[in-house]
Subunit: 273 residues, 2 copies
């Protein structure tokens, strides 16, 4: 395959290098670019306030999917955690909160909790996290989650009497904490909106965007992120995967999901559900 | 909505706080958890080597989608850039390369380039980036991209004579640099695999996973990330959006896409395409 790095390419790169070194700086271009970027990133003063929890052992995609949608809509997105020390993610990229719990505004438009089973378990057992979520969740316009994040909302008492969903592997734990599990990709019940596992975050965020900003705004975002998915296989749900693959998947997650059950049972005891 | 932060919840949180302070540390649990996490994160010695470019003004989701798939498969994923200073992303989360260009192995299994129009434009005009990609791309088993990243591959001379795709807004620029644009979500031509805009990265990565590790392995990942997408609208492609919405979207991106055209024309001149 070395024919791709052929002489012509090398010459072309050499030319570019020379041009780049010799060319006088074009003063107008960078300014126009900077202005364009600024206007795209700017948060209007009346932008909805969004607090997205980040926590150790979280799944990055649970957050980045919805965050991408919210940022394109120029929502005022904050990443919140106890402090600003980096938290670990499944992909190995550390995330840092922009706001500590103390700095997070009291009245939010959206409170959002991502997942990551073992990270969610830690949050379900952490009184500081639960107290923060219970406080902001009681006042937020929308209380939302993706993946195993619904277990954390439920452990904070925020899904008692609500329809909800979570990652398929742990969704059956929701009723322990007073929620009704509805087997849909995105479930809305009054001001609660919860999504299934990981990739459901994109569907969740577009659905919420439509409710908050109208269908046309959500459609614009969908076109921007070219969201016309074509999964190569039909294997995204237990039903699609079939009993054999499901059994294998459950077996490989057994210890982890067992931890989630223990945390849900402990939360149920505290909540009296 | 303050009824959700009711007395019972406060009491429950109080109980948890007390329990957490009083309970003796369970020595076995954290160790089991740590071992489980380690085994999940561990990279086998024969894991495919993946270099994923990170660059200023990139779209985080372009990277995180495929990276999630590769990490679940325990591929040896490196984030590469000129140096280890943080690069900016569309969502405001800075990313830091794990390896500089110099530190990146010469022979890769996968070379991957994410998008982000203005960031891609900068890369298309940057001889250091193009030289790195041309070198590693000439030897990599798979040369891949998502979104506007295909323009960067093309500017490095890596798509001359190949079928490819890119974000719908700029895919028409590919032929300027010697590629044939094929209007599909994921396009494979020999060892090149390119995806459409942003969210196409998940479809791309699952398709590549199936080719590299077999269909069953890809299906397992798909179930883990619950990838059974349900977009709330049919608005993910220009065809779905229809002419009016497309015209509006093109107008709002006009300056940015114009920059991409200028960079593609300059690259075409260098490449002689």
């Amino acid at each position: 395959m070395t024919d791709n790095l052929d002489r012509r390419t090398l010459l072309a790169l050499g030319t570019l290098l020379a041009a780049s070194a010799a060319a006088p700086a074009n003063a107008a271009e960078p300014q126009a670019g900077a202005a364009h970027m600024r206007s795209m990133m700017e948060t209007p003063p009346d932008a909805p306030k969004v607090a997205m929890l980040v926590h150790p052992k979280m799944v990055a995609l649970d957050l980045i999917g919805p965050m991408t949608v919210f940022k394109i809509l120029r929502f005022d997105v904050q990443l919140v955690w106890k402090d600003k020390s980096p938290v670990s993610t499944d992909v190995g990229i550390p995330l840092v909160a922009t706001h500590s719990f103390d700095e997070c505004p009291g009245d939010l438009d959206i409170l959002f909790v991502p997942g990551g089973t073992l990270g969610s378990v830690d949050c379900m057992n952490d009184p500081e996290v639960l107290a923060f979520l219970a406080d902001r969740g009681a006042r937020a316009k929308w209380v939302t989650s993706v993946c195993t994040g619904a277990l954390v909302l439920a452990a904070a008492g925020l899904l008692k009497g609500y329809d909800a969903t979570a990652h398929w592997a742990v969704a059956d734990l929701l009723p322990l904490m007073g929620a009704r599990h509805v087997d849909q990709r995105v479930v809305r019940d009054r001001n609660r909106m919860t999504g299934g596992g990981v990739t459901a975050g994109i569907d969740f965020a577009l659905a919420l965007a439509a409710l908050m900003k109208g269908e046309e705004a959500a459609r614009r975002v969908q076109l921007t992120i070219e969201y016309a998915p074509e999964p190569p296989f039909a294997n995204g749900t237990p039903q699609e995967a079939g009993p054999e693959r499901l059994a294998e998947a459950r077996e490989s997650r057994k210890w982890m999901d067992g931890q989630a059950r223990l945390a849900a049972e402990a939360a149920a005891k505290r909540l009296g559900t």
